[in-house]
């Protein structure tokens, strides 16, 4: 893994980025947790000791024990198993929603930044309108419109993050558009599509990538908030936010029901943030030597 300083000189931007990132201990810990979670999500049914809907009527709201590591919930389901299965929802929803919103945002931003003039104006004013609603409110309304369920919730979550991605790309593209290499590309008769996708977007996208890694953690929290208030993913699906929502009623007598699903969300968000910080530092041109 360790490369000598000489070796990484003259290599591509990407391998420099990977080298920088791999030197960052916090980022690597974050990445390790994320990989572990992906592993758990893939093999969840094999890891979970009980089925996520398996009811044990003799063990209602039991505190953690050797039989039920995280205790049981109000109808006797094993919380550890439900948290394990729940790994499949949080992280994947965060990543998918961020990918969708970034992809749409980048295309919109690229059109606005390249076209300029009235097209730019119309797009930016439309983004103004969307952004004048607080993000969570927009996500709540979108979620009510699209209905519950995994993919509908992902769509609802992604709508809130499109404007920021579009603005970021547009701003960087406006800066790039005046660069000499773009003029050169025009002069050798490159088509606009080629200029946008081969030159402008790749050179303007680094800020968006940083924004995306930071955005994943925000979306995970939003997704959990949604199912917490009863929209988004619905019970009995063991989404962590939905589990917390169900546990709220028993907060006085069975606090363990609140602690573990929340801890799972917090650890996931922490890992994503640690990796995100590393990505930002590795991409920051100020740190380049």
């Amino acid at each position: 893994m360790i490369m000598s300083g000489k070796k990484h000189k003259g290599q591509s931007e990407f391998s420099r980025f990977i080298y920088q990132l791999s030197k960052n201990k916090m980022a690597m810990i974050g990445l390790a947790i994320i990989i572990l979670e992906v592993f758990i999500a893939v093999f969840a049914p094999a890891i979970a000791p009980y089925g996520y809907q398996e009811i044990d009527a003799n063990a209602l709201r039991q505190p953690p024990s050797s039989a039920h590591w995280f205790g049981t919930d109000e109808i006797g389901r094993d919380i550890f198993s439900r948290v394990i299965i729940g790994t499949r929802y949080s992280l994947s929803m965060g990543i998918l929603a961020t990918l969708i919103s970034s992809a749409i945002g980048i295309v919109i931003g690229a059109i606005a930044g390249f076209a300029g003039g009235w097209a730019d104006n119309v797009i930016m004013r439309a983004l103004d309108v969307i952004q004048s609603l607080p993000g969570m409110l927009l996500v709540i309304v979108m979620s009510a419109v699209l209905g519950s369920g995994y993919f509908n919730t992902i769509l609802a979550l992604s709508v809130g993050s499109i404007p920021a991605a579009a603005r970021m790309l547009r701003a960087n593209m406006l800066r790039q558009r005046k660069a000499e290499y773009i003029e050169a590309a025009y002069s050798i008769n490159c088509s606009p599509a080629r200029i946008i996708f081969k030159h402008l977007v790749p050179n303007s996208i680094s800020a968006n990538i940083v924004q995306m890694t930071m955005g994943v953690s925000h979306v995970i929290v939003q997704a959990a908030s949604l199912s917490f208030i009863g929209l988004g993913i619905q019970p009995p699906t063991p989404d962590w936010g939905a589990m917390l929502s169900g546990a709220r009623a028993f907060i006085r007598k069975s606090p363990h029901m609140v602690i573990f699903p929340g801890l799972a969300i917090a650890i996931t968000v922490l890992a994503v943030n640690m990796l995100g910080d590393g990505v930002r530092d590795a991409m920051d041109p100020k740190l380049k030597k």
Binding site: I130, S132, S225, I229, I251, P255, V258, I259, G262, N273
Partner: protein, 319 residues
């Protein structure tokens, strides 16, 4: 300068109108029949149909939109909630201040605690103070506010019985909501302040100030912080939207009758007028706060002020 802000203020009118149209349109696509939700599942078909006609749901989309817009923006008639029959204007008058208070406290705490923490971390870069602040901040930004709220309730309301778990009343009722809604923002403003302080501290004029023999604490507060504040204020503007959204969730946990509980219940009841009008008011509050951020900019950064003035002069000359 003044002209610029007046222009921004006028520009808010079409934006808010567009917000109203967007939310109205979204709500019409909302699955679920409001008549059935109001009357319950045992209602007869005739009663349901009569209710739909009464609510105006049978009219074409454009007729309903036009009626809604003219009622709201021309006659300032906000109507009543379908489900409860309470005038919407009354509920907003009662609830909006609570949500704004909660978001305001959050803003105040995140600025008042987060910025000093970030400055302390930046001044002591790579020392233990820095590591401690940044680890705390990393944990803070990763802690979902509603989970923190539940944990605080378990500790302070259920176990220690020091503070009430829900409802509204005196100051005591706002302590737990304020902590849980602000922790994430305190942490993120600490992170932002640290990085923007570090950017500034490395610049030449700070070295110059030190070389001139300016005392260190003055270098930090007068020279560095003043310049570092600009990106921090930008962030605060965008964060305020998140604070309003976060307050909506926190309200549901602590049963605070604010805009969040109003809108979330209305969404679940398919109470379209409440959702629409509530959203418009939150959008107005948010737009005003963004305008305020821009004005703060001009206060902190004389370059921006000069830019506005130059623009104004150039325009006048062009005429």
């Amino acid at each position: 300068m003044l002209r610029y802000f007046l222009k921004r203020l006028l520009w808010m009118i079409p934006i808010i109108l567009a917000v109203a149209i967007v939310v109205f349109t979204l709500m019409t696509f909302c699955p679920g029949d409001p008549a059935e939700i109001i009357l319950g599942s045992e209602a007869t078909d005739e009663a349901l149909e009569a209710k739909r006609v009464e609510l105006g749901l049978r009219d074409p989309y454009f007729v309903r939109l036009a009626r809604y817009l003219s009622d709201t923006f021309i006659h300032f008639e906000l109507g009543t909630a379908w489900k409860t029959g309470i005038p919407i204007a009354d509920s907003i008058k009662e609830r909006l201040p609570r949500t704004m208070l909660l978001s305001g406290i959050t803003l105040f705490l995140s600025f008042g605690i987060g910025v000093p923490l970030g400055v302390i971390a930046a001044v002591n870069q790579n020392r233990w103070q820095d590591s401690l602040c940044m680890i705390l901040a990393l944990i803070g930004v990763s802690m979902p506010n509603f989970w923190l709220a539940l944990l605080l309730v378990i500790l302070f309301a259920v176990k220690l019985k020091w503070l009430p778990a829900l409802g509204i009343g005196g100051v005591k009722y706002y302590i737990l909501p304020a902590i849980s809604s602000s922790s994430m923002h305190i942490a993120s403003s600490a992170r932002q302040s640290r990085s923007s302080m570090l950017d500034v501290i490395r610049s030449d004029y700070i070295t110059t100030a030190r070389a001139k023999g300016v005392p260190e604490n003055q270098v930090i507060t007068k020279h560095a912080l003043k310049n570092a504040l600009i990106p921090i204020i930008t962030m605060m503007g965008t964060q305020f939207g998140k604070m309003l959204g976060g307050a909506m969730i926190i309200e549901t946990i602590f049963s605070i009758p604010g805009m969040g509980t109003l809108i979330i219940t209305a969404v679940n009841n398919r109470d379209y007028p409440v959702v629409q009008t509530g959203s418009i008011f939150l959008a107005i509050v948010f737009s005003f706060s963004m305008l305020l951020v821009d004005m703060l900019y001009a206060l902190v950064d004389p370059r921006i002020k000069a830019q506005y003035q130059r623009k104004g002069k150039m325009k006048r000359r062009a005429k």
